[in-house]
Symmetry: C2
Subunit: 213 residues, 2 copies
Amino acid sequence: MPNASTRIVIADRNVITRVGLRSILERNPGFAVIAEATSYDAVIDAVDEHGPDVLIIDLDLGDDTTRGLKVVEEVTERYPTTKVLVLANTLSEMIVVEALRRGANGYLCKDDVKADELGKGIKAIQDGETVLGKGVGNLVAHSLGSSRQTEHLTDREIDVIKHVAKGLSTKQIAVAMFISESTIKFHLQNASRKLGAHRRAEIVHRASAAGLL
Amino acid sequence: MPNASTRIVIADRNVITRVGLRSILERNPGFAVIAEATSYDAVIDAVDEHGPDVLIIDLDLGDDTTRGLKVVEEVTERYPTTKVLVLANTLSEMIVVEALRRGANGYLCKDDVKADELGKGIKAIQDGETVLGKGVGNLVAHSLGSSRQTEHLTDREIDVIKHVAKGLSTKQIAVAMFISESTIKFHLQNASRKLGAHRRAEIVHRASAAGLL
DNA sequence: TAACGACCTAGCCAAATGGCTAGGTAACGG
DNA sequence: CCGTTACCTAGCCATTTGGCTAGGTCGTTA
C-alpha cells in the first residue's frame, strides 16, 4: 500500500477524550488510532511497541506533573520519526515553551480546538510544520519577546510552593521540610524571579495555572 | 413506542468531549443525544426547546464561572422532570456541594469516570438516585462532617481574590477597585473564613482549585 | 581543575499581611 | 417593620513577608 494510514497513538487519562479523539480522527480513513495509553509508562511502552507516526499526548497523565515533559523528550529523542502533538487542558507559557524545547511538534488546547483542526494539524505536522493552536502562538511570541526567558522551577522550589499553597508560613514549611527558614525564603525568592512574581499569592497562582501543583 | 429512548442534551465547550460522550452513550440504543450546547445561553435554549430527560453539563462553559451553577438551578426549577448530571473537569468541595444544593442529580469527574459508568449513572439518576463519582462522595461526606458549612464567595470577594492572584498588594487593589484598603482586607477576611484559609496564597490556591479565577 | 547548577544557611529592615473590634449604608424578603 | 445579606470603612498590633547581601557544600559537566 503506497499511501498507508497515519498510525496514531493517543495518550490521555480521560476515556471520554480518548473516545472522542478516536471518533473524530477515524472519520478520516487516512488516520488509524493503533493504541491508547493512560499512564506515562504506558505511553513509552506503546511507542516502543508500535513506533507510531504521531503521538497525541496530554502532558498530565498522573500525579507527577513534570513527567509529561520528560516523556515528550524521551520520545522525540529516541524516535525522531514519531511526531508529537501535545493536547493540553490548559494553556501555560512555561509548559508550552518547555514542550517545544523538548521536541514537541505541535501544541493544541482541548477547549479551543475544532474538529477539523485536528486532522489538518496532524497532516501539517507530518509535513514538518510546527502546529500551534489558537492563543498558543501568541504565548510563544510573548515568551520570545520577553527579556525574561522561561526558566523552569526546580523540584525543591515546587515542593516549597506546594506548602505555600497549603497556607503554611515560612516557619511551618521549614519544620515540615527539615530545613531552615532561610532556605525556604531562598527558594521562594528564586521561584519569584523565575515566574516574574512578587508575592506568594502570585507564585501560587502561576504555578497552579501552569499545572505544577 | 412504550420504552422510548432517554433523550439527552450535552453541554460542554469542548468538541472532543462532546463527540466522545455522544459516541459512548450511543453505543446503548436506549440513549439518544438530541442536542449539544457550548454556551450557557445555548443550554437554556436547548432545554427550552427539547425538554430532555437528562442534561449532561460541564459547569465551566465560559468566563463567568459561577454562571454554571445558576444554570443548574434554573433548569431544575423550571423543568423538574429534567435530570441534571454535572460532568466536571476538577473536583472542588464547594462546587460539588453548591451544585447538589441547587438540584443537580449527579456529579461525575471526567478524569475518573469509566465508559460504562456513564450509562449506569444516567439510568440510576432516572430512577431517582443521586449519582456521585469516585471521590465525590467522600468530598460530600467530609463537607457534611465539617463544622464549617460550605459558604459560597460573593462576587466582590472573588474580584478581590483575582487581584490578589495577580500579585497586587492591598493598596494596589484598593486603587484598582476604587475602594479603601480596609474594604479589601475585609473581603479577604471573609473569604478566608469561608474557604478555611489563613493566608492569601491559600485563598488563591483554593479559589483556583475551585475554578473561580 | 574549574565552572556551573541545585541546594542550603544567616541576618537585616521596610513593607505587607493576619486577626481583631467596631462601626456604617443599601437592598431584599418575610 | 425587622432581619438578613452584601457591601463599605476605620484603627490597632503582632507576625509574616519581600528584597537584599553574603556566605557555604555537593555533584556534574566542560
